[in-house]
Amino acid sequence: MGALASFVPWAVVAWLFLVGTYGIVTSRNLIHLVGALSVVQASTYVLLVAIGFREDAHAPFFADVPPGTPVVDPIVQSLALTDIVVGATVYALLLALAVRAHARTGTLDPEALRPMHGPTRERE
């Protein structure tokens, strides 16, 4: 069970990355696109936390265990938190842009909204 379970986190990372990228590539709705991007980012969270994991280790605080007890790596967890904050900023901006795009053109379809080919262009 140990050998089988040990590759599961990496498989999850790969799956999330590929599914999220598939979502971005085939998306027909800007809100869905942002959601797919967040799935891609989720793969980085899992990767970071999985790298920091140690078998039979405690969570990284010492309120109830003596210092020196093996704990999982806290640095990668703080990296993941920073990643989440960065993600929140990017998604807030992207969603605001999506709302603006819809207000301006009435559509959320990336294919219809291509810059310089979009609904503002008249037929020549």
Partner: protein, 602 residues
């Protein structure tokens, strides 16, 4: 204190202006932004002078390394870092002057975003920690997305910004995965410590994959083929002062990051394989240079044309970095500074063309500029500088890289650079001839497949005077000339380059506070007859290509023009404007370069 000030001052100014929005009158806010950027540029010069013998190392929160372990986040200032900060700040100051009365009052947040953008870029240049690079990368990127979409009344800037944001975010996540793999192998995030940890053993698959993913993240920012698709879209729709900063410094920061991370963190680990990894970078850079230049030639939208020329010149920079030698790196530094100035000048001039002549479509502008000789001369000289005409700094930088490439046995690289520069210069010179002299046919097979807007958005007309637009452009062009003429520049670039490639010295300075080993003083560059001839010939070739390209369908090279038109149309269709395509190309690029890396490193 000084390094922190360089990062903090723009941030504080941004917060002050944002917080006092109701109270602070707009001219005062812009003046504050201008003063801040100028002060930071001066501070960076002072810093560059201070770091002659040892880099300046500062640990955030006082977390200095203890017992050989570095947990804290470090700021490491060396000559090149400080130099790049001053280029960023100076270009930002020119941008703020250009944009001084550009907007009406509705767009008051512009300077705030520009200051945040500048702060992110400065932090990126000065940090010595790999994850901190990611954080500043994202800070500058988010500010860039918001700035691209600044004209939210129109649809195109919004979708251009979304494409930019999605592509660069995926690139950033790939970068983060690379950082995670490197951390998994070394347990360190500080570049110096990573370098030391990796140097202890020959690199295995995990280290190569980590290198590749980190590289990919930075190459997306550096708009290297096939990660470059976001750049033309972003440039075409972003406000002109923002395009100045994007093409001038933001893209180049990706190249800087590749060089920095490679030399400090990975070079010692790679050892002999490093030369082959460098060759991969050279090949990628050369391919990008040619593809970008070719695409520039088939554009009718002036800003897209300049965007593709940025792609091409970014490829030239990457190829110079890939040579992995101090002399080539000195050339890269000189070229970077000179190109930033020339590209900034060209974008400002295009903005002036848009304001005065009413369009950025080359075909629609045909002949409209006949009574503007001053503007014509400015754009023509800048286009020649772009093509690498001596004595501009672009020619000097390329000559330095070429000379080393020939020594290293890669003399074909000089031909690639000449071709790319000639093509990009030709594209701009053709535009000059068409707009200001009225030459060339009204319809052009080669160009009409290029994307353009039916009604190009009017550049916002505050009471902007032409002077405010063109004065910074002229100053930038003069700076590019100064980079090429002042001998101290090459001396400084060479000294800085020798420090830059010394990864072991960097690590010793950061972790053990050892000063750099003493180096013999660097010599200024002396132009060889061969370099002068090559540079002059490249500029002449650009003019010739422009003339040939103007003949189009009617010329003697009819068959060539038609074939080129078909290729151009196919390439233009590839740049579909759909972000899904761009992300697919990103994955294809990772697979391609990963496969190539596996091949060269066996």
């Amino acid at each position: 204190m000084l390094p922190w000030l360089c990062i903090a001052l723009p941030l504080l100014a941004a917060l002050l202006i944002a917080g006092a929005r109701g109270v602070l009158r707009r001219p005062f806010a812009e003046l504050l932004a201008l003063v801040t950027t100028l002060v930071v540029a001066v501070l960076a010069f002072v810093l560059a002078a201070e770091v002659e013998d040892a880099p300046l190392v500062r640990w955030a929160g006082g977390w200095s390394p203890s017992q050989g372990v570095a947990i804290g986040i470090s700021l490491v200032v060396d000559g090149y870092g400080a130099g790049l900060v001053s280029v960023v700040a100076a270009l930002a100051a020119a941008t703020v002057v250009y944009a001084l009365r550009y907007w009406d009052d509705a767009h008051g947040a512009f300077v705030v975003l520009v200051l945040l953008f500048v702060s992110g870029m400065i932090g990126f240049c000065l940090t010595g920690d790999l994850f901190d690079m990611f954080v500043f990368f994202e800070l500058m990127s988010v500010a860039a997305y918001a700035l691209t979409a600044h004209r939210v009344e129109e649809a195109s800037p919004i979708t251009g910004a979304i494409n930019f944001a999605i592509t660069n975010s995926v690139g950033a996540f790939v970068l983060l995965m690379g950082i995670a793999f490197v951390y998994a192998r070394t347990g360190a995030l500080s570049l110096a410590q990573i370098g030391d940890a990796l140097a202890r053993a020959p690199p295995d698959g995990l280290v190569f994959v980590g290198w590749l993913l980190v590289l990919t993240g930075f190459l997306v920012k550096a708009s290297i083929v096939p990660f470059h698709f976001w750049l033309p879209d972003a440039h075409a729709v972003a406000p002109t002062p923002i395009s100045v900063m994007f093409s001038g410094v933001m893209v180049e920061l990706g190249i800087y990051a590749v060089a920095r991370v490679h030399h400090v963190a990975f070079a010692r680990a790679f050892g002999a394989a490093g030369a082959r990894a460098g060759l991969l970078l050279v090949a990628i850079g050369a391919a990008t240079a040619v593809v970008g230049a070719g695409m520039a030639l088939v554009q009718r939208h002036l800003k897209r044309l300049l965007a593709f020329s940025t792609v091409s010149h970014s490829g030239i920079l990457l190829a110079g970095v890939g040579l992995l030698h101090a002399e080539a790196l000195a050339g890269v530094a000189v070229y970077l500074a000179a190109h930033a100035a020339v590209k900034g000048c060209l974008f400002m001039a295009v903005g002036a063309i848009h304001q005065e002549l009413g369009s950025v479509d080359e075909l629609r502008l045909r002949g409209r500029g006949r009574d503007r000789p001053g503007l014509a001369v400015l754009v023509a000289v800048a286009a020649l500088a772009l093509a690498g005409c001596p004595p501009f700094g672009t020619a000097l930088g390329k000559a330095l890289i070429d000379e080393h490439a020939t020594l290293a046995g890669a003399s074909w690289l000089a031909w690639v650079f000449a071709l790319a520069s000639a093509l990009t210069g030709a594209a701009m010179l053709r535009a000059v001839a068409r707009i200001f002299l009225g030459r060339g046919p009204a319809r052009d097979e080669l160009e009409s497949s290029g994307a353009t807007e039916e009604e190009p958005p009017e550049e916002p007309r505050g009471p902007t005077t032409l002077l405010l637009m063109l004065a910074p452009a002229v100053v930038l062009l003069a700076s590019s000339l100064a980079v090429g003429l002042v001998p101290a520049v090459t001396r400084w670039a060479r000294a800085g380059a020798h420090r830059f490639v010394d990864g072991e010295g960097f690590a010793a300075a950061v972790l053990d506070a050892k000063p750099w080993p003493v180096l013999p003083p660097s010599s200024p560059h002396t132009w060889s007859a061969k370099s002068l001839v090559v540079s002059g010939a490249t500029a002449a070739a650009a003019a010739l290509l422009a003339a040939l390209s103007l003949q189009g369908e009617r010329g003697r090279a009819r068959g060539v023009a038609r074939a080129a038109g078909r290729v151009g149309a196919a390439l233009n269709r590839l740049h579909s404007g759909q972000v899904g395509d761009y992300v697919v190309w990103l994955l294809v690029g990772i697979a391609l370069y990963g496969g190539a890396l596996a091949l060269v490193s066996r």
